[in-house]
Symmetry: C2
Subunit: 327 residues, 2 copies
């Protein structure tokens, strides 16, 4: 019998327990040089990848291993939802210290499997190696009907600006988790949202299929940073009404608004709808996915981000979201 | 004017100078949540990803930045060649310390661009973040005609075993580079092979198109480790003749054989050809790609790896290739 190397044994352990994913189009997965996947007719392929690094994106003492598994896939899958696609399969790149190969790895894989099943995304392949800190990079492959993708660049002046869910909840969850030194796990909705965010796949897909949104992206770094990106890509500006931004419950209004404007990790969708599409949007939208949708402002020709405060004073919305390269 | 964040500015810098890659099928690249890519009709999609980490896979003081750029793409692309496919586009995941954002990044991107152009592989997207050490993960998307992929699992008893190029050259190159503390750059073929390996894309594609090989993989961890993987996947063993293994020049024969059997990083192709296909292989093969091909042994029913030494004694081939999880 030809002996299996330790690396190959680890790869085998990782693939155990993941569904074969035949429906996902994956024909060849673990155990070969590369995975083979079949795109469907009439679809374009969506490609995205995301870092999830110990020390930068999560802390081993604060974040349960199964949350790290769930979130590493959820973050990348949210980018597929963000252009109106559905996920199909993913590549898992994992670098592990010895201290994280036993119990930690089991918890991580449990969370990852749960995410993969929930999001309909099959494990196709990836790479493993040894490192002093846990390094994760997940690449997700998705699909969207030809020319139905909703890009960041399609927003036009007078389009209305929408968000899903409540903003700032994940940032609040992180704060609560820090206060309790990792002990609060499932009690609070905000903590759950921070640990197990749910990418808005169904909503994104619905908006793409009905051709309702003119531009879309997901909120990963915070509204102020991400809205700037959407406006930059579209060559427009925006006016946001502070009073109608959906905020987290259980803290002061001032603080909740600050988190909603600048807190990251929400993985909600930010999208624009042309004014003439609003009646159709209203007619078709039956809140079928259990996610609230809020109109928070309007796109402007003037390339600035303005915030109408509740006292009716208007100020410039300054970038306050998370950016690893900002000093 | 909406201000660009530092991370977005870095992403823009990275994408500058890469060709638009319209022929690669990439429709939307930098600047959106995800890339959009169009698979071609009659093809299956190949997905692969590879770590390339400072300290583990390269050393900043030893490896020139442009070699790191070249090799990070070449390694992953070699996995596409390994199943008979051609590369189409890639995702670049880069985590950088501040000390590597200026001159180092320029050199890295120069090498990466040269590799992307040489290998016909367009930059589609990826992710960037900050980290104390340079972390690279490259995912390559390739294509192969439906059902033409050559897997590891197709080797059958009595198939002949072939390799491309000379084995152990890259390991010798690393040794020379270490001796000269990074000063030897282009003088030696072995050093060039270590710094700028050339994935055998044309050869792999040719073998797949002609349906000649029954199994194939690339040699990244060394012949002894990788042949064990091919045999394990195929449920077979192999007998290798030490005397005909193509080895590096310029060192003692004993040492050259040791490097050829256990040295990693060669990115040559290892493949098997059924005996009845040998005449057709010989007739069609005109060495059109300038790469030598050597028959080094035969596949056996008995699930062992045997090495026929030059003194005609037969010993078991023990795994000596590189494995990050071996103690």
């Amino acid at each position: 019998m030809v002996k299996l190397s330790p690396e190959d044994a680890l790869v085998r352990e990782i693939f155990l327990g993941f569904s074969k994913g035949r429906e996902s189009g994956v024909r060849v997965a673990a155990g070969d040089d590369a995975a083979i996947w079949q795109a469907r007719k009439g679809q374009e392929t969506i490609l995205t990848s995301d870092w999830f690094l110990e020390g930068t994106h999560f802390l081993r003492e604060l974040h349960p291993a199964d949350s790290v598994g769930w979130k590493s896939l959820a973050r990348a899958t949210s980018d597929i939802a963000a252009i109106g696609g559905t996920p199909r399969c993913f590549l898992l790149n994992l670098a592990l210290p010895k201290t994280a190969t036993g119990k930690w790895l089991s918890g991580f894989l449990r969370g990852l499997r749960r995410a993969a099943n929930t999001m309909g995304c099959a494990l196709a392949g990836g790479d493993t190696t040894r490192q002093e800190r846990i390094l994760i990079n997940v690449a997700v492959i998705g699909e969207v009907a030809k020319r139905a993708a909703i890009l960041r660049s399609g927003a036009r002046p007078d389009d209305l600006l929408f968000v899903s869910g409540r903003l700032g909840e994940a940032a609040l969850g992180l704060r609560l988790l820090r206060k309790s030194r990792g002990k609060v796990r499932t009690g609070s909705a905000a903590v759950r949202k921070h640990l197990y965010p749910e990418p808005r796949i169904e909503l994104g897909d619905w908006l793409a299929r009905h051709g309702i949104a003119s531009a879309m992206m997901d909120l990963s770094d915070g509204l102020s940073s991400d809205l700037a990106r959407l406006c930059e890509a579209s060559g427009v500006g925006a006016v946001v009404s502070e009073g109608v931004v959906p905020i987290a419950a259980g803290i002061s209004r001032t603080e909740a608004i600050r988190l909603a404007l600048h807190g990251g990790d929400d993985y909600e969708l930010l999208f624009t709808v042309p004014a003439h599409e609003i009646p159709r949007f209203r007619r078709l939208w039956k809140n079928q996915f259990g996610v609230p949708i809020s109109c928070i402002g309007v796109i402007s020709k003037k390339r600035k981000l303005l915030l109408v405060k509740e006292e009716a004073e208007t100020v410039e919305l300054v970038l306050g979201g998370w950016d690893p390269f900002r000093e």
